[in-house]
């Protein structure tokens, strides 16, 4: 096979025009590839993707779906290349040309038709709440923006409920949005469908504006990053772990139940950590809970490893041996922890999946920091979840 290529600068320009301007800065040092968590386990090569993009030559297709937008390479890049912007732009250009992989078609289709990625009915967005929790009205302080995943995925409904209970116990004036809202759009933007993202964003912004929303609490770091960085508006957005850490500090909520030496480690979600710079709040919450023996994994905080769920990864199939979440579970277990805590519904889904396929779901439990905190306030999570089974709903094809 001939190795001859002619640079196709129109394609390169198309990537630049789609927001991949940073492409030009790259001097191909390989820091990104050397840093990328996928490099050791897959053939994905982020540097080559950028190189092919610079010249507009064939090869882009091979690499364009490998990135989970964990931002590790961006933070380390000596040239300050916004690599995620380049990946997004490449995906935009190519998926516009009909190159969306099969596994992402249902995801994009559902978002387009129903406003959520889980093929759930829009009307049933708030079914998890069973009218038990208030819907936001203009006179309230906080909008608890429920991520689609915590609305529709049975495992993550637990997180939605735990969050709602914490907000109630804190005595705050809060409500969930009506079913008119839709996905924050963060992932579909990273998948490259910028047009659909705009539509989702505008719809949410309309809701925020009509209802005079000012303060937003989220449990998904993906919503956090989208609202803070992509919506172009100045809302007061906070991740629930930050709010809880504040409530503890102000003495408004005090964890009481003693966990009796339960060994817990914490996984920094990429979108809470590297994307949003929140490292301490979830740790502060865990450390405030009596009887939790908190241990760090070797790679933590700024150096944290990705679960693989970002950038559309949550909806893409990966072969065994090519799953970051498997590696992360093993890393967590190596610390001796029996609970892997995190603070992102995507990470929870990825880890729950891995712990089952690795057959270690009895040895290590996956929990959101919020869930542990609620238990430490004396609330029984199982009782809270009783009757939730009628919401049964399958998220992943497997």
């Amino acid at each position: 096979m001939s190795q001859t290529v002619i640079p196709y600068l129109e394609m390169s320009q198309a990537i630049v025009d789609a927001g991949g301007e940073a492409l030009k800065k790259c001097y191909q040092c390989g820091t990104c590839t050397g840093t990328c968590p996928w490099t050791p386990i897959t053939h994905f090569n982020i540097r080559k993707l950028i190189r092919f993009g610079q010249l507009g030559i064939d090869g882009i297709e091979e690499y364009m779906w490998g990135c989970s937008t964990c931002k590790f390479c961006v933070d380390r890049c000596p040239r300050g290349v916004e690599i995620i912007d380049v990946v997004t732009a490449i995906r935009n250009v190519y998926s516009g040309g009909g190159m969306l992989p099969q596994s992402l078609r249902a995801f994009v289709g559902s978002l387009s038709a129903r406003g959520n990625p889980w093929s759930g009915d829009q009307d049933k967005r708030n079914d998890w709440a069973k009218d038990k929790y208030p819907v936001y009205t203009k006179d309230m302080d906080y909008l608890f923006f429920t991520c689609c995943t915590v609305c529709y995925d049975p495992r993550n409904i637990k997180l939605a409920k735990a969050a709602a209970e914490v907000l109630n116990l804190a005595g705050l004036s809060w409500g969930i949005p009506s079913v008119d809202v839709n996905c924050c759009g963060e992932s579909v933007r990273k998948v490259g469908d910028l047009e659909l993202f705009e539509r989702l964003k505008q719809n949410n912004l309309n809701y925020f504006k009509t209802n005079n929303v000012d303060k937003i609490v989220v449990v998904s770091p993906h919503c956090l990053a989208a609202f803070k960085k992509e919506y172009g508006e100045d809302y007061d957005v906070m991740h629930l772990s930050q709010l809880i850490a504040r409530l503890i500090k102000e003495g408004k909520l005090t964890p009481k139940k003693d966990f009796g030496g339960l060994k817990v480690t914490y996984h920094d979600p990429c979108y809470l950590g590297r994307h949003s710079g929140v490292y301490d709040a979830p740790r502060d919450v865990l450390k405030a809970i009596p009887g939790i023996d908190f241990v760090e994994m070797g790679r933590n905080r700024e150096q944290s490893m990705c679960c693989g769920g970002g950038g559309g990864g949550l909806w893409m199939e990966k072969l065994k041996g090519e799953r970051l979440s498997d590696l992360r579970i093993e890393e967590a277990m190596a610390t001796g922890a029996t609970v892997l805590a995190t603070s992102c519904p995507y990470c929870i889904t990825m880890f729950e999946d891995s712990s089952r396929t690795l057959n270690v779901d009895e040895q290590i439990k996956i929990k959101d920091v919020t869930e542990l905190f609620l238990e430490s306030l004396g609330v029984n999570m199982d009782e809270l979840m009783a009757g939730a089974s009628d919401l049964n709903f399958t998220c992943k094809a497997d």
Binding site: Y27, G30, T33, G34, T35, R47, R76, C77, P78
Partner: protein, 649 residues
């Protein structure tokens, strides 16, 4: 009625591409009192200069306006032209249509129009200009050199050899700088000590050099030709006049300090000379490490000193020296790589910074020149990581220029001194100096492995305790490399000395964003600064190797000489003066002057201006409520006329 000649320069296409130069000249010829107006490709060239001189004679011109580049570039050039043609040199006006017009627009309409406005203003002002007479001041014939590294040593020796007296100020207790830490120098691999120590000794012996080690500049007063510089002699606690350098004290001393010279790899005594070839060979006491200063008793050094040179009561002393010019050659530090956690410096004992490795190679170093790790073992595999913090937007954007070459030197010395496999992790190999490419080829042939990819991470080896894994992509194959090694060498960014900001403040030097001193012009005045009479040499200006540093030092010496070689120096006549009859004694002028030129004459009850200090900025004139201050060459009438000319557009 004046007779004005206007000369518009194309500056090649620099000006001509965004200003219609012939239209500008045509426009000028329509302005009042303009007798002749011309444009030419390069007005600063000999034909351009001859054109101006010829027209002055032919048209009996008495005012010249040159529309060209910044006055910083060629005001002096054109002043000479008019002076040689018999006009007072202050009757030439420069209109900056390059930096202020053509270089800041792509729009030829806007460019031409702005140039016309500036030229119009200049013509209005030129009509009111008056001839000025320069004044002359005495010049101190001596020079101060700050920094006793190879740059400072070289500059001091050059100047001293011309017969000029030099004060060489060094903040450490010895001269020699970083070069004294090296074992070999690239690309010739000559022994660093063999070429440096004779020069250090020459400094000590030279009758024209006053060596001021363990000293720091604390205050600078005065101006070019007449600086009064206060130098602090830090207390050494050893009377160097009495000390005969027997060094018995350093043998007996029980105190332990960190050897700066060995980059902290070993301890030294509290009373010490930094290394055996130090100049001067006389010790100082490190207070922080001295048992007597810490615990109140010991004084062993005092007991063994036959010369009675130890003096625990010694205090810092201050002296002031007068010099005509100053050369700043304060050198560099390597960046602290600890915050770059991915490389594990300070975490893994096998990770070294470049200067530490220089010490390992050095026969006078902590291992007597043997390459052994902190645990005493010889490394089997070594990775040298280039561009650590250099060429990096998160740290320092500049290329540190010497790392590629010293990394090659390291590789050679590792090969010579150990049986280790040596790997270079590089982004781009930069070997542009004389003999450098040849050196690079030589090292390749010595079977050093080159991996084109920046080191991404240094991790602990899971399989072999004590070893490390270097992770990087070999971008040439696209393969992810996980290389087990025993030793990692980081080549960190070169940055200005941590106290370079203090020097910048003292001498009123500008710095770039990282603290490197700014040269007056990157090409034509690379050793001068915006402060007249202050010159720079070596890495304090930007990273460079020893040959370039020495060349700069020689150049700076020559520059300094151009000032101190003269008995008298001409001062700009464009200074401010006070009309004592109008002065209301408010002293506003004294408060606003950045150069300390105005002072209050108590006897007369009025402000006066030291013309040697005045730069003619006009600040005092603008704040004088009584209009008692006249800024020569920028009088109110002249400035208002120029504004009027500008406002017509």
């Amino acid at each position: 009625m004046s007779r004005i000649g206007v000369f518009v320069c194309h500056c090649g296409l620099n000006i001509a591409k965004t200003i219609r130069v012939s239209e500008l000249a045509q426009f000028a010829s329509t302005l009042p009192d303009v007798v002749v107006a011309k444009d030419y490709k390069f007005m600063c060239s000999t034909p351009g200069q001859e054109m101006i001189a010829g027209d002055i004679k032919e048209h009996k011109l008495d005012r010249i306006i040159v529309a060209a580049c910044s006055p910083l570039m060629h005001e002096q050039t054109f002043r000479k032209v008019v002076e040689n043609a018999g006009l007072n040199k202050y009757l030439v006006t420069i209109v900056n249509i390059r930096e202020q017009v053509s270089w800041v627009t792509h729009d030829i309409e806007e460019g031409t129009s702005k140039a016309k406005a500036l030229l119009n203003g200049a013509v209005y002002r030129a009509r009111l200009l008056a001839p000025l007479t320069s004044r002359f001041i005495d010049v101190s014939p001596d020079v101060m050199v700050i920094g006793g590294g190879i740059a400072g040593i070289q500059a001091a020796l050059e100047l001293a050899n011309t017969g000029k007296k030099v004060y060489l100020v060094e903040k450490n207790s010895t001269i020699g700088g970083h070069m004294a830490q090296f074992d070999k120098t690239f690309p010739t691999l000559d022994c660093s000590a063999c070429i440096l120590t004779p020069k250090m000794d020459a400094v000590l012996q030279h009758k024209n050099i006053t060596l001021m080690t363990y000293c720091e500049v604390t205050e600078v007063k005065g101006y070019v030709g007449n600086f009064d510089i206060t130098v602090k002699q830090k207390a050494r606690y050893v009377d160097h006049d009495k000390c005969n350098a027997c060094l018995a004290c350093t043998e007996k001393c029980p105190g332990k300090g960190v050897s700066e010279w060995d980059e902290g790899l070993v301890k030294r005594k509290a009373i010490y000379i930094p290394f055996p070839q130090a100049v001067p060979q006389k010790p100082v006491i490190d207070r922080d490490a001295c048992t007597f200063f810490i615990k109140g008793k010991c004084r062993l050094c005092e007991k063994v000193c036959e010369q009675k040179a130890i003096d625990f009561e010694q205090q810092d002393t201050f002296s002031t020296v007068k010099v005509g010019a100053v050369i700043v050659a304060t050198g560099y530090d390597l960046m602290n790589t600890k915050p770059l956690v991915q490389y594990g410096y300070g975490k893994y004992p096998g990770v070294y910074s470049a200067l530490e490795v220089e010490r390992l190679f050095n026969s006078a170093g902590p291992t007597s020149g043997k390459v052994t790790l902190r645990d005493g073992k010889e490394p089997q595999a070594i990775a040298i990581l280039h561009c650590i913090g250099s060429r990096d937007k998160n740290n320092y954007e500049h290329c540190s220029r010497v790392c590629c070459m010293y990394s090659l030197k390291f590789a050679h010395l590792f090969k010579e001194k150990t049986s280790a496999d040596v790997y270079q992790f590089y982004i781009d190999m930069r070997a542009p100096g004389k003999g450098y490419e040849e050196f690079y080829n030589r090292i390749i042939e010595e079977d050093v492995k080159f991996i084109r990819g920046k080191g991404a991470r240094v991790a602990e080896s899971a399989d072999e305790p004590g070893r490390m894994i270097v992770e990087a992509e070999d971008t040439l194959t696209g393969k992810f490399i996980k290389l087990p090694v025993d030793m990692v060498v980081l080549s960190p960014a070169m940055i200005p000395r941590s106290d370079s900001k203090d020097i910048a403040r003292l001498f009123n030097l500008s710095t770039d964003k990282y603290g490197f001193f700014m040269e007056r012009h990157p090409k034509l005045a690379p050793l001068s600064t915006m402060s007249e009479g202050i010159f720079i040499a070596g890495v304090c200006q930007s990273p460079k190797d020893i040959p370039d540093t020495v060349a700069q030092a020689n150049g700076a010496a020559a520059e300094a000489l151009t000032i101190v070689v003269k008995d008298k120096m001409e001062l700009e006549a464009t200074t401010a003066m006070v009309n004592p009859a109008s002065c209301c004694a408010c002293q506003n002028c004294i408060r606003v002057c950045p150069y300390g030129a105005p002072f209050f004459n108590e006897q007369k009850g009025v402000s006066e201006i030291n013309e040697a200090l005045c730069k003619g900025c006009g600040l005092c004139a603008s704040v004088c409520p009584a209009s008692a201050i006249i800024a020569r060459h920028f009088t109110n009438d002249q400035v208002l006329a120029e504004i009027e000319g500008l406002m017509e557009f």
